[in-house]
Symmetry: C2
Subunit: 407 residues, 2 copies
């Protein structure tokens, strides 16, 4: 597998980008065979800078939900682009998209738009604090809510004050959440929580329905806002909101990643009770009303509804999970597949330093499938049975190669 | 001037968007004749939802620096889009764009990219704090550095802790900055400052070169980082950085708005001394490496260099300023035009409640020129002499109408 061009680009990047790359896409955090640079995407496939083509099971860490360069999305984006994108006010797409969110998301009476998932979680906290006049926000220890100083998993460059009004509980441990709420007392502004526990470097853990209902109960009892951080899961599990199957409705939801199939957009939705507070805060950005991303979002959500995107991703994810389980058994590996099948993740038993995971994912990459050793993967509706079967051929050969000690 | 469609959209928005709109583009903060919704842009012109066409002197509050839908920018964006935009890693455009920033910006040894100006200022603070191991950041009271809790001009929904590590000085008052630095003592991590004082609701004020040099001296003496917030001014005043004409080089610069002619992008540049700290912080977002916006930025900066964009905007802004000065004198108004001509702003004498400004800007809008009563305007290179003259015809009629009491 050729890596010449990727190596050249990494060498150039090392001179003009700190560390050669930054953030969650930093190839330094992955085995060296993973490509750092990508050049093309189409449907379920991506191509790296050396021309190697892969079945893409990472979907840009989530944004690609209908497949790369989806025709209906790109057609809608192009139509808007031919008129214009970035003005001194929104386009009519803003209204249409807000109406579509309200029509699609069960707990949404209104919507606001931003660019980053971090914008959406941060604005949600501001709305909850404005609504309650309180300061303390509770989050699960280790949950990822973005890269702003209040939530970054890496404290470098932050101050204790950045997290001074946060309290922490353990995901799925309702007693710990109740204890944290008791500590906050009458200063509890909000609880922010992900739909399931999808922390990097950990097996995924579905939300215990009692835990979800218990958080709702704490918020109802105290007048705090329940914020569902649906940035990573949104529109993959349930178009009405990721906790709708549990019957637990949040007061505020944060969205981004999949809502515009790769176009930069985030959203905050909320209930009527929070509308006034949302009006009183100041939330804005130079590109938060850009029309092309909103046209893309309208097309994305419309298509996800038309084809029942979550059901398609569930079928694709089930086919992948079943195939991986059978392969692992055949090759004599004990694996753990966790989380909803639309967001797959595979770890190996007794692999504390990820030696096996690194070897196996490297072998998958060499054989044409992009997976990840310590972060959940993502399904898209472009993962047809053929695409999954192509990925499974790579994963099967990877299991065999690792078993044979020649990854 | 027809406003039917705009009114319909506002009514729909009022149901599904808090307050009907949010942030700096909220039409509720402008006289009612201003359009809330825009549908088209081309070159120096925009069209509102009712089909009214205007000379656009606001340029989307800054992003549009080469005119709407600039052919070279959109061609580069389209070429990248045909390959793909949003992957699980950057495209080669990231490297090319970082190299271009390093080649263009005097104080840049490296670059990182984000989506919002607020991302760029916030990441700059994180880098400065990581580099120094200190907490306190000084900013000019009233300067706008973004909408995050640490810098939003509206404290609703924020906590005192969000600003707990900030100190304040008065723009252009070096003694106040020195006093704030003395108060910070050995905890001074950074001073963040805009290239000139462009606070909304105030006349603009150019930076006193002694003030700029004095801030540089404080940082040199204390080991703090000087952060130039070039989000609003960047690439309009000087392509090498907005304080390069003053001979004052920042350690870190925050960029956004104009760098990709309307495509959503932000950048942080810095010196070698800050490279290690930039490597140690965690800064990321789902769309921070999206390739289309980077292709657009490469084309935008290349074009601005090729045509000397700042010189063209200076000529356009001078033509506008001279014309407005002559018109005001003719019609008997005492006005104040402040700031660099590339970022015009006009206020009226003895107009504390903006009654005249609101009447005059409304009259301009009615006659086909988008200006602003309390926020600086923006020139682009699409403001040809003909476009400026068309705007000046509207402004002249507006002066006459306000003088006659029939705006």
């Amino acid at each position: 597998m050729e890596r010449t061009r990727d190596a050249e680009l990494r060498a150039r990047a090392a001179k003009v980008v700190p560390g050669g790359m930054y953030g969650h896409m930093n190839g330094a955090n992955l085995p060296p065979v993973f490509p750092q640079f990508y050049t093309e995407g189409e449907g379920a496939h991506v191509t790296d800078a050396d021309g190697n083509r892969y079945v893409d099971l990472m979907c840009a860490y989530g944004p690609i939900v209908l497949g790369h360069r989806h025709p209906a999305v790109e057609k809608a984006a192009a139509a808007q682009r031919d008129a214009g994108d970035c003005f001194s006010g929104p386009s009519p797409r803003l209204v249409e998209l807000a109406e579509l969110f309200v029509d699609t998301v069960a707990a949404a009476d209104w919507a606001m738009f931003a660019k980053n998932g971090t914008d959406a979680t941060t604005v949600s906290l501001m709305i909850a604090r404005a609504a309650t006049g309180r300061r303390t926000v509770l989050a699960a220890a280790g949950s990822y809510h973005g890269s702003a100083p209040w939530c970054t998993p890496n404290p470098a460059g932050t101050t204790p004050g950045d997290r001074g009004d946060l309290g922490y509980f353990t995901y799925n441990d309702l007693a710990s959440a109740r204890a944290a709420a008791d500590t906050a007392g009458d200063d509890l502004a909000a609880i922010i929580v992900t739909p399931f526990r999808h922390d990097a470097h950990h097996d995924q853990e579905l939300a215990d329905p009692e835990f979800a209902r218990g958080l709702r109960e704490i918020c109802d009892r105290t007048g705090a806002a329940l914020i569902l951080d649906d940035v990573r899961c949104g529109f993959r599990l349930d178009l009405a909101g990721s906790w709708e199957p549990l019957g637990v409705r949040p007061d505020l939801s944060a969205w981004s990643k999949a809502i515009a199939n790769g176009h930069a957009l985030a959203a905050i939705t909320g209930t009527d009770a929070l509308r006034d507070a949302a009006t009183r805060i100041y939330a804005t950005g130079s590109f938060w009303c850009s029309a092309v991303s909103m046209a893309a979002a309208i097309a994305t959500i419309t298509e996800l509804r038309r084809i029942d995107g979550p059901a398609l991703m569930k079928a694709a994810g089930t086919r992948l999970r079943d195939g991986l389980a059978a392969q692992a058994a055949t090759h004599g590996f004990t694996i753990n597949q966790t989380g909803p099948v639309q967001m797959p993740f595979l770890t190996f038993a007794e692999d504390p330093h990820l030696d096996v995971a690194n070897a196996w994912t490297s072998a998958c990459v060499r054989r044409g499938a992009i997976v990840h050793p310590w972060h959940n993967w993502f399904m898209s509706t472009a993962h047809t049975p053929d695409a999954i079967d192509a990925a499974l051929q790579a994963t099967d050969e990877a299991f065999a190669a690792v078993r044979a000690g020649r990854p």
